[in-house]
C-alpha cells in the first residue's frame, strides 16, 4: 500500500510553508529516519523524515514551491516490493503517512516557543461568526489597511510583517546610537527565538547583540544597571511569561529609581517580547500582562497591532529616556501590514489611533484584540451598525481623550482584550468613561475579555477561554439595544 507524505506543521499554528529542497529523488530507497526534504517558513527550516521503509515513488510538490498548505500530500512512498509506478499513479490518494491513517504528520520535536507560526485567530474567530453573515470564514494574513493619519497620504507603502518591522526598528536605532544594544536569550547566534533579531548579530556584532544564559532575573537587573550608566538596553524576553522571574527589577529597580533618586537616575531601557496567548501553549505561556504593567507609575506600556505601529513605536520606545514595556504578540509576528517607507518612522507614545471610523458604537482594543474588534466591525457593518474601532497602541500613558471623544459621538462602547477581566485594561477604560463621558453614554460600557480562568491546553477549551468575534458582535449589538 502506498503512503502519502504530507506537508508537516512546524507548530500548531503553522498553516503553510515552502518546500525548499528534496534530498531524495524519485526511485530512491528510503528507510525510517532518512531525511526526505527540507521545508521552510520565514522563521525556521525543518527536515521531513521518512517514518517507514520503502521507495520514493513520486514527488508531488517540487523543490522551491511556496505556500504549501499543511497536510498537502508532497510525495508518495511505495512499500517494499510494491509496484512503484502503480503506487505513484495513485496520485496522492494513498494512505496518509503514519500507518494508522488520518493523523497529520507528527510535529517535529522542536521547542514550541520558537516555532509557533501564523495567525491562529483564524480558526478561533471564523467559526464563531454568526452563520447568517457573509463574513469571510477566516481572518486573512493581510489585515485591512489601517487609517494612518500620521503619515503623508502619498507615502509609499511597503508590505511588511510585524516581525520585520520590529527588527528594522531595532536595526535603525542601533545604527544611529552606539549606546543601543539588545540582550536576551537566543537573540544573537540563534537569530531570535521568534526571529525578531534576525541579522542583527551579523550587522552589529556580539558586543551589541548579546546572548544571555537563561537567567531572566539576572539579565534584567544587568540591563537596568547598564541603563543607569546611560546605555540604552533592549532586553528581549523570550516571552513575557518569563519576565515574571524578572519583574522585581522591572518594577522595583527600573520603574521606581527615577522617583526615589529625586530625578537623578533615569533608566532608558526597553523590555520587549511576545505577550499573551499564542496557540496551545497552556496556562504558563499564555498570560497577557498589559494590565499588570499598566498599573505601575514610572513605566510606559506599549502594545501595538500593526507593523507600522510596531516599528514607529519601538523606535520611539528605544529613544525614550524611561523604562518602556513593549508587548508584542506571537500570532501577529507573521502578519503583514503596509508600512510607510519614510525616513525615520517614529510614532508618539501615548496616542491611540482610530483604526476604522464609525458612528454607532466605539470598540476599544489593542494588540491582537484588534483582530476581534476589526472582524466584528465588519460583521456589524453588514448588519447596519457602524463601529468606530480605536487601537489604544499605548496602554500607559493611556490616551483616554481619544476614547472619550469617540464615545461622545457614538454613546456606546465595548472594550476588547485577551487579558483577564478583573482589573483589566477594559476595567480601566470603563472607569475613565464613567468619569469623563458619563453624560454621553447611552448604555453601560461592556467588556469582552479572556475568561477568568488559567489558559487551558485543549483546543476547544482554549478557544472558549479567548474572546471571540461573536462575543464582540453580541456585546456591540447589546449596547446598541439591537
Amino acid at each position: 500500500m502506498a503512503t502519502d507524505i504530507l506537508m508537516p506543521a512546524l507548530s500548531p499554528t503553522m498553516e503553510e510553508g515552502k518546500l525548499a529542497k528534496w534530498l531524495k529523488k524519485e526511485g530512491d530507497a528510503v528507510k525510517a529516519g532518512d531525511v526526505l526534504a527540507e521545508i521552510e517558513t520565514d522563521k525556521a527550516t525543518m527536515e521531513v523524515e521518512a517514518i517507514d521503509e520503502g521507495v520514493l515513488a513520486k514527488i508531488l510538490v517540487p523543490d522551491g514551491t511556496e505556500n504549501v498548505a499543511v497536510n498537502t500530500p508532497i510525495a508518495i512512498i511505495a512499500e517494499e516490493g510494491e509496484d512503484v509506478s502503480a503506487a505513484a499513479a495513485s496520485g496522492g490518494k494513498g494512505k496518509p503517512n503514519g500507518a494508522d491513517g488520518g493523523a497529520p504528520a507528527p510535529t517535529p520535536d522542536m521547542d514550541a516557543e520558537g516555532m509557533t507560526e501564523k495567525p491562529s485567530a483564524t480558526a478561533k474567530s471564523g467559526e464563531d461568526a454568526p452563520k447568517a453573515t457573509a463574513a469571510p470564514a477566516v481572518i486573512t494574513n493581510k489585515a485591512p489597511a489601517p487609517v494612518m493619519e500620521e503619515f503623508p497620504a502619498d507615502s509609499p507603502m511597503v508590505t511588511t510583517t510585524v516581525r520585520e518591522a520590529l527588527r528594522d526598528a531595532m536595526a535603525e536605532e542601533m545604527r544611529k546610537d552606539d549606546k543601543v544594544f539588545v540582550m536576551g536569550e537566543e537573540v544573537a547566534e540563534y537569530q531570535g527565538a521568534y526571529k525578531i533579531t534576525q541579522g542583527l548579530l551579523q550587522e552589529f556584532g556580539a558586543r551589541r547583540v548579546v546572548d544571555t544564559p537563561i537567567t531572566e532575573h539576572g539579565f534584567a537587573g544587568i540591563g537596568v544597571g547598564a541603563a543607569f550608566m546611560g546605555l540604552k538596553p533592549i532586553v528581549e524576553f523570550m516571552t513575557f511569561n518569563f519576565a515574571m522571574q524578572a519583574i522585581d527589577h522591572i518594577i522595583n529597580s527600573a520603574a521606581k529609581t527615577l522617583y526615589m533618586s529625586g530625578g537623578q537616575l533615569g533608566c532608558p531601557i526597553v523590555f520587549r517580547g511576545p505577550n499573551g496567548a499564542a496557540a496551545r501553549v497552556g496556562a504558563q505561556h499564555s498570560h497577557d500582562y498589559a494590565a499588570w504593567y499598566s498599573n505601575v507609575p514610572g513605566l510606559k506600556v506599549i502594545a501595538p497591532y500593526t507593523a507600522s505601529d510596531a516599528k514607529g513605536l519601538l523606535k520611539a520606545a528605544i529613544r525614550d529616556p524611561n523604562p518602556v514595556i513593549f508587548l508584542e504578540n506571537e500570532i501577529l509576528y507573521g502578519q503583514s501590514f503596509p508600512v510607510p517607507q519614510i525616513e525615520d518612522l517614529v510614532l508618539p507614545i501615548g496616542k491611540a489611533r482610530i483604526h476604522r471610523p464609525g458612528t454607532d458604537v466605539t470598540l476599544v482594543s489593542f494588540s491582537i484584540g484588534m483582530t476581534y474588534a476589526l472582524k466584528a466591525a465588519q460583521i456589524l457593518s453588514e448588519q447596519g451598525i457602524e463601529a468606530e474601532v480605536i487601537d489604544l497602541r499605548t496602554i500607559r500613558p493611556m490616551d483616554s481623550a481619544t476614547v472619550v471623544e469617540s464615545v461622545k459621538k457614538t454613546g456606546r462602547c465595548v472594550c476588547v482584550e485577551e487579558g483577564f477581566p478583573q482589573s483589566g485594561v477594559g476595567a480601566e477604560i470603563v472607569a475613565r468613561l464613567m468619569v469623563d463621558a458619563f453624560d454621553y453614554l447611552d448604555a453601560p460600557v461592556l467588556r469582552v475579555t479572556g475568561k477568568d480562568v488559567p489558559m487551558p491546553y485543549a483546543a476547544n477549551l482554549e478557544k472558549l477561554a479567548l474572546p471571540s468575534v461573536a462575543e464582540v458582535v453580541e456585546a456591540a449589538k447589546s449596547v446598541c439595544y439591537k
Partner: protein
C-alpha cells in the same frame, strides 16, 4: 530546615569567623591612618546621630545603621579610583559618606526634607549620587548585585577602565540573582568586585543557620571567580585585599569576591532588640576589634600622633554631623508639588 537543624546547631555561632591577625598585615602611613580614622569616625558619629534622630521621631520608616562595619567601605574606597561605581543594599549611609556625599544631604534625606539627596522622596534606603558614582541604596535584598553587575557591563561596553564595587550582606548572598549575576560576570569577564559584608546576621538569623556554605569567598568557585576572606575590622587588610581585587577586575580578568568579616554593633534596624545574640558577644567585639579604636591606638602608639590632634579630628567630625542634623531638622519638607515630579523623564524631541 526548622527545629531539627536549629536543635542540632545552636545559634551561638561557635563557628563565627576568628578575627585572627593576618600574618603580614600591611602597614599604613601616618597620613593613611589619619585619613581612615577620620572617614570611619565620620560614619560612626553620623550613624549615632541618625539613631538619636530616629529615637526622636525625626527619621521615619526603616533605618539600618552601619556602626561596627566602617572599615569595610573606607578600606575599599581607599583602594579605588575616581569614576569607579558603588552600589549597595539598604545599610547604605556609610557607603554614601565614604563616596564623598555630603552629610547634610544624606541626613536631610533620612528626615525626608527637600535638601535630601533624593529631595525627600527616597529615604534611608534609596539615595543616589550620579556625581559621586553612588548608584544606591536598594531596598530589595540582593537586587543591587544584578544592578551592580550591570554597571560593570556598561564599563566593559564603554571600555572606560572603571570598576563596579557591588556590596551585599551575608543575607543577600543567598539570593538566587546573586548567582545569576556571578555567572554572567564571569562569563563576560565584567569588571566587578563583589564585596560580601559578612556581619554574621541576616537580620536575626546567624550565618550558620542560613548558609550551607558559610565561607562566602567560595561562593563564586563554581563560576571560577576567585575570592578571599578578609578581616573586615582592620582597614589595612581591607584596603590591601580590595586593591588586589580591583586590579584583577580592572585588568580584564573578570569579577572577584571579597568576604569582609565584620560585625554590626546595633540591631538589624532601629526596631531590632537583637535578642538573637548575647551582649557579651557584642561587647567582646567592640572591646577587642573595633575598627576605629584599632586605628586610634595605632596613630598614638605607632605614629606618635598627639591625643590633642585626634581630639581635634573628633571635634571636626562632630561639627559636620551636628551641622547635618541641624540642617536635616530645619530644612523644609518637599513642596507638595514634588509628589508629581520625577515619575517620568521628558522625551527629547
Amino acid at each position: 530546615m526548622g527545629a531539627g537543624s536549629e536543635a542540632g546547631k545552636p545559634a551561638t555561632d561557635t563557628d563565627a569567623p576568628q578575627h585572627r591577625p593576618a600574618p603580614n598585615i600591611p602597614q599604613f602611613t601616618r597620613d593613611e591612618d589619619l585619613h581612615a580614622y577620620r572617614e570611619m569616625l565620620l560614619i560612626r558619629r553620623f550613624e549615632e546621630k541618625a539613631g538619636q534622630l530616629y529615637g526622636m521621631g525625626l527619621i521615619g520608616g526603616f533605618c539600618h545603621l552601619y556602626i561596627g562595619q566602617e572599615a569595610v567601605v573606607v578600606g575599599v574606597q581607599m583602594a579605588g579610583e575616581d569614576g569607579d561605581q558603588n552600589i549597595t543594599g539598604y545599610r547604605d549611609h556609610g557607603h554614601m559618606l565614604a563616596c564623598g556625599m555630603d552629610a547634610k544631604g544624606v541626613m536631610a534625606e533620612l528626615t525626608g526634607r527637600r535638601g535630601g539627596y533624593s529631595r525627600g522622596k527616597g529615604g534611608s534606603m534609596h539615595m543616589f549620587s550620579r556625581e559621586k558614582q553612588f548608584f544606591g541604596g536598594h531596598g530589595i535584598v540582593g537586587a543591587q548585585v544584578a544592578l551592580g553587575t550591570g554597571l560593570a557591563f556598561a564599563d566593559a561596553y564603554l571600555k572606560n577602565g572603571k570598576v563596579s564595587f557591588t556590596y551585599m550582606g551575608d543575607g543577600a548572598a543567598n539570593q538566587g540573582q546573586v548567582y545569576e549575576s556571578f555567572n554572567m560576570a564571569a562569563l563576560w569577564k565584567l569588571p566587578v568586585v563583589y564585596i560580601v559584608e559578612n556581619n554574621r546576621y541576616a537580620m536575626g538569623t546567624s550565618v550558620a543557620r542560613a548558609s550551607a556554605q558559610t565561607d562566602f569567598s567560595k561562593r563564586g568557585l563554581s563560576f571560577g571567580i576567585p575570592g578571599e576572606q578578609v578581616d573586615g575590622m582592620d582597614v589595612r587588610t581591607v584596603r590591601e585585599a580590595a586593591a588586589r581585587a580591583i586590579q584583577h577586575a580592572r585588568s580584564g580578568e573578570g569579577p572577584y569576591i571579597l568576604e569582609m568579616q565584620t560585625y554590626r554593633y546595633r540591631g538589624h534596624s532601629m526596631s531590632d532588640p537583637a535578642k538573637y545574640r548575647s551582649k557579651d558577644e557584642v561587647s567582646k567585639m567592640r572591646d577587642e576589634h573595633d575598627p576605629i579604636e584599632m586605628v586610634r591606638k595605632r596613630l598614638i602608639e605607632a605614629h606618635g600622633v598627639p591625643e590633642a590632634d585626634l581630639k581635634g579630628i573628633d571635634a571636626k567630625v562632630r561639627e559636620i554631623v551636628n551641622e547635618s542634623a541641624d540642617f536635616a531638622t530645619h530644612d523644609a519638607e518637599p513642596d507638595p508639588s514634588e509628589l508629581w515630579t520625577d515619575i517620568l523623564l521628558e522625551a527629547r524631541a
